[in-house]
Amino acid sequence: MSGKPSRWLTGFTVLTYVFLFAPIVVLIVFSFNDSRRSFTWQGFTLQWYEKLLANTEMIDALRVTLVVAVAAVVGATILGSLLGLGLARLRFRGSGGVQTLLLLPIMTPEIIMGISLLVFFSQLFGLNGSIGQIALAHITFCISYVAITVRARAASLDPRLEEAARDLGASAVGAFRHVTLPLLAPGIAAGAMLAFALSFDDLVVTSFNTGVGSTTLPVQIYSGIRFGVTPQINAISTIIVAVVSIALLLAWRLGAFRTAARAVVADPEAA
């Protein structure tokens, strides 16, 4: 059916994949390079990993990042899943407005969200940045992604399954718990993963809401880059890439990733 691709097209595709992965490979390779300055290979070392483990600033930043990410995942997953389910299932006045409200945080440049939250927290409450403030900000930009992911999943479910459960005598709560929720689970898991990735990675919104003692890993890495390159950044990056890859592999085995792929694909159409 599909015939043979032209050699040019295949070569181009392969090159693009190389383009996508080469920087990550470079990053990993140079985390083991026995030289602080040079970008040519000087021999294998683990010294950057040892220095990283002794770097309390980095370790503290990692701890803050994880605390914030967990809070963001929990908050955004609860609020976003309810919202996504509501939008898929219910017809109510103003649902068009809610859809727009959901898209706005995605369309708004991160920097605008960062400064508006900074102005909000500092002018209204006199707050100067803290872990809690960052967590509130992260929940805010994660809700939309979770809601859209869950809505896509909920909309693809056959409502007759829940009706069948009701007809067979299940209570409304029972039908939801035993039929709808398990079917929604992959979408909720995908939304939670997305929220974790977005929160863990966020630099811009965080940098406006960070304060003393609430430096996250991206903020720490960013200031590290500004003050000169150190292979310790390569080491922490390699660890992050490794952890993310393992998590994605697990998610792939559990099937959640296919839902995430579908949801991300469905997103542009929602817009």
Partner: protein, 307 residues
């Protein structure tokens, strides 16, 4: 109703009875499901924007506090000073170049995955998305190591004798556009894939049977039918690229000031929040107008394609 009610009749009757009996429970469900999220976005998204709007018409007094004593639009008219317009134009230039490159690279790749990916389609798509799941900042930083004067690229070119002196690439327009294209390419490939994969290939075959050349069939059949995907991919690349802060500040230098960088500098260094807020709103305005224009053309394309 006759004795032999069709399943559709039963379905609609059941739906109607449930709806009338459940109006109150539907309202309750709406308030439980929808209200918390909407309230959250209202308090932590819309209210901050409103406060930023108020601050943007204020000024900074001699003590450095924000004052609303004489509200005016002067911060917006300051935007016409030679600081803002070049930054805006540079942002648009970077975003447009990034979008065009991402579409030009993404289209053939999405086409290849769709037509020749076979049973590996999903795996190939996940490979495209894999970098998206690792930190954007870290991936941008990786390009610093590649593009620096003593970086990987220059080292390879020097060692192989292609060049005698390192080419300065970092901190230029090229490094910023390259970094952005790298970062946003996955956003382009996914919607392109969806649209190309949905294309009924027998349409292309029909065009070929009617003596269209390969190129003619592509231009007159494939391209118009996948136009919604192109517009969606363009939007998904252009919007984040326009407001991107990370790439121009990590891979760019002083001469690559974009609006996002300008706003960030005003907020952290200059601390003239009213002026920074006004510039922020202008960036948001450009973003939203651009999105609406693109969406309108998407709608027209979709209608045109289905007509």
């Amino acid at each position: 109703m006759t004795a032999a009610a069709t399943p559709a009749d039963v379905e609609s009757a059941r739906g109607a009875s449930r709806e009338s009996a459940g109006t109150r429970s539907a309202a309750a469900a709406t308030s439980v499901l929808v209200l918390p999220g909407v309230a959250w976005l209202g308090v932590f998204f819309l209210v901050p924007l409103a406060i930023m709007a108020v601050v943007s018409v204020g000024a900074v007094d001699s003590a450095g506090h924000i004052t609303l004593a004489n509200p005016s639009l002067r911060n917006y008219s300051h935007a016409l000073d030679p600081e803002f317009i070049p930054a805006l134009l540079r942002s648009i230039y970077y975003a447009a170049a990034t979008t065009l490159l991402s579409l030009a690279i993404g289209y053939p790749v999405a086409y290849w995955i769709s037509r020749y990916g076979g049973r590996h389609k999903v795996a190939l798509l996940i490979l495209v998305m894999l970098p998206f799941w690792t930190s954007y900042l870290i991936r941008t930083y990786a390009w610093v190591m590649i593009l620096r004067d003593n970086g990987v690229l220059n080292s390879v070119l020097l060692d192989s004798g292609v060049i005698d002196e390192p080419i300065p690439i970092l901190n230029t327009d090229v490094s910023v556009i390259l970094g952005m294209t790298y970062g946003f390419l996955p956003y382009a490939i996914l919607p392109l894939f969806v649209s190309i994969d949905r294309l009924d290939y027998s349409m292309v075959q029909a065009a070929r049977d009617l003596y269209a050349s390969g190129r003619g069939a592509f231009i007159h059949v494939t391209l118009p039918l996948t136009m919604p995907g192109l517009v969606a991919a363009g939007l998904l690349t252009f919007i984040p690229a326009l407001g991107d802060f990370v790439t121009p500040s990590v891979l760019g230098g002083a001469q690559t000031t974009t609006i996002a960088k300008l706003v960030q500098t005003i907020f952290t260094a200059g601390r003239d929040w009213p002026y920074g807020s006004a510039l922020g709103f202008l960036l948001m305005g450009v973003t939203i107008v651009g999105t609406l224009v693109a969406l309108r053309s998407l709608r027209r394309e979709v209608m045109g394609a289905s007509a």
